[in-house]
């Protein structure tokens, strides 16, 4: 249990996926103009990353690193990048279809963001990190959820700041993306303060 909490705090706050791992920069900069849309995007990312961590961990354990196949000398783990990217792309499509049909209210709030996540590097990054760190299925799901929650925190905070930045008098060349990146740098410095926690 203690280990799981450590993984969760570590990936959500200490090694924040956006501010210290630089994964998922695109939606972080692109979809953070309003707090509402940022929260929607964050929610969709939490949903997809948690689910894809679970599915990829299952695939890794029972197919790619299958003990029987390993024992007869077939090691499929080298296929992980190819398999994961395809599985994630299919999974996102499938989730979108499922939500549309079965859970219309949830689809209303998350649906538009799902296709944007298909090739988001954070999703693939988490799945690959789970393998590198040799996490089991439960640890992978916890790590996936925590990482995505870290993304949620970062993008919602950023959207809140950006709504205020709108009213400031910013030097002309810095308007737009540049000031957002400076804000991200300051947020990143603040998050570095957590590094002593673990």
């Amino acid at each position: 249990m203690k280990e799981l909490i450590l993984i969760a705090v570590g990936s959500a706050i200490v090694n924040n996926v956006v501010l210290s791992q630089f994964l998922g920069i695109c939606p972080f900069l692109g979809v953070s103009k309003k707090t509402e849309t940022a929260a929607g995007m964050g929610g969709a990312v939490v949903f997809v990353i948690t689910l894809s961590s679970f599915v990829t961990a299952l695939i890794y354990k029972y197919i790619l690193a299958n003990t029987y196949l390993m024992s007869i000398g077939i090691d499929l783990t080298y296929l992980k990048t190819i398999v994961y990217i395809l599985v994630i792309a299919c999974l996102v499509q499938f989730v979108e279809m499922f939500l549309k049909k079965k859970m219309p209210p949830l689809y209303e709030s998350l649906g538009v963001y799902l296709p944007l996540i298909t090739t988001n590097c954070a999703v693939l990054g988490v799945a690959l990190t789970n393998v590198t760190k040799e996490y089991g299925i439960l640890e992978s799901v916890v790590n996936g959820f925590a990482t995505a929650f870290g993304f949620f925190i970062a993008i919602v905070l950023m959207a809140g700041l950006r709504e205020k930045i709108e009213y400031n008098d910013i030097p002309k060349p810095f308007r737009g993306t540049a000031i957002v990146l400076i804000t991200a740098a300051l947020m990143s410095i603040a998050f570095m303060g957590f590094s002593g926690m673990i």
């Binding site: 690959l128 990143s188 570095m192």
Partner: protein, 233 residues
């Protein structure tokens, strides 16, 4: 100008992926803590880009239009896996330093972007040169950012101490995560000034195409998210 030279010039200067198009920002931020890491990442991306352009251009008439994105992704993912294993075998220290960002070349928008906008429409040879040009442009961008961060953050260039520590106190923050955002912010601001000057001169630069611009129309993923554009606005 010879059309092959033109592709090289286009990739390295005119539509430089880092400075002008602002594509592939995840690796640009993540692996540029030193010039050598930036160079390594740039060159590995270049290799993948050249080979993927070659294969996609060669297969462009065979791949059905409806499944072209999945087909491109499989080709790129296979190439990335090969490059990853070659680096693990022959360049261990670089492979350890770049870590998960090597397999993540698969989702680099430069590669799928070039596949979609150039290689799938043009013959093999120009596509290869397009790959070389874009790849070298990306390498140049990463190496330059790496040089600045390494110089300010450690007083070194390619690992050689150039600013003596007797008078220079390294600004360590530049080799850490916030430094990446800071350097990129100043780069974007600098490019905004250059962009305005060029526009006044009547020779405007190409518009940024990546996620930083908020404009999805040139993005490789626009086929899946084109109708979602209002989300970004």
């Amino acid at each position: 100008m010879n059309k092959y030279v033109e592709r090289l010039y286009n990739g390295i200067i005119k539509e430089n992926p880092t400075f002008v198009l602002m594509l592939g920002m995840c690796p640009t931020l993540a692996v540029t803590s030193s010039a050598i890491n930036g160079l390594g990442m740039g060159l590995s991306t270049t290799v993948v880009l050249i080979l993927s352009n070659l294969l996609i251009s060669a297969f462009r008439k065979v791949i059905p239009d409806g499944v072209r994105m999945p087909a491109f992704i499989v080709i790129v993912a296979s190439l990335v896996t090969i490059v990853e294993f070659l680096m693990k075998a022959y360049l261990q220290s670089l492979s350890a330093a770049l870590g998960v960002y090597i397999p993540l070349i698969v989702v680099n928008c430069i590669i799928l972007g070039r596949a979609e906008s150039y290689a799938s429409k043009n013959p093999v040879l120009p596509s290869i040169f397009d790959g070389i040009g874009m790849g070298l442009g990306f390498t140049l961008g990463l190496t330059c950012i790496g040089l600045v961060r390494e110089l300010l953050g450690a007083g070194q260039i390619f690992g050689v101490q150039v600013l003596s520590l007797s008078w220079f106190t390294p600004i360590t923050i530049f080799v850490m995560a916030p430094g990446a955002f800071l350097v990129l912010a100043f780069l974007v601001a600098g490019m905004n000034i250059i962009r305005r000057k060029m526009e006044e001169k009547g020779t405007p630069l190409a518009e940024p195409a990546g996620c930083l611009s908020g404009d999805c129309s040139n993005c490789a993923h626009s086929s899946v998210c084109a109708d979602k554009k209002e989300v970004a606005d």
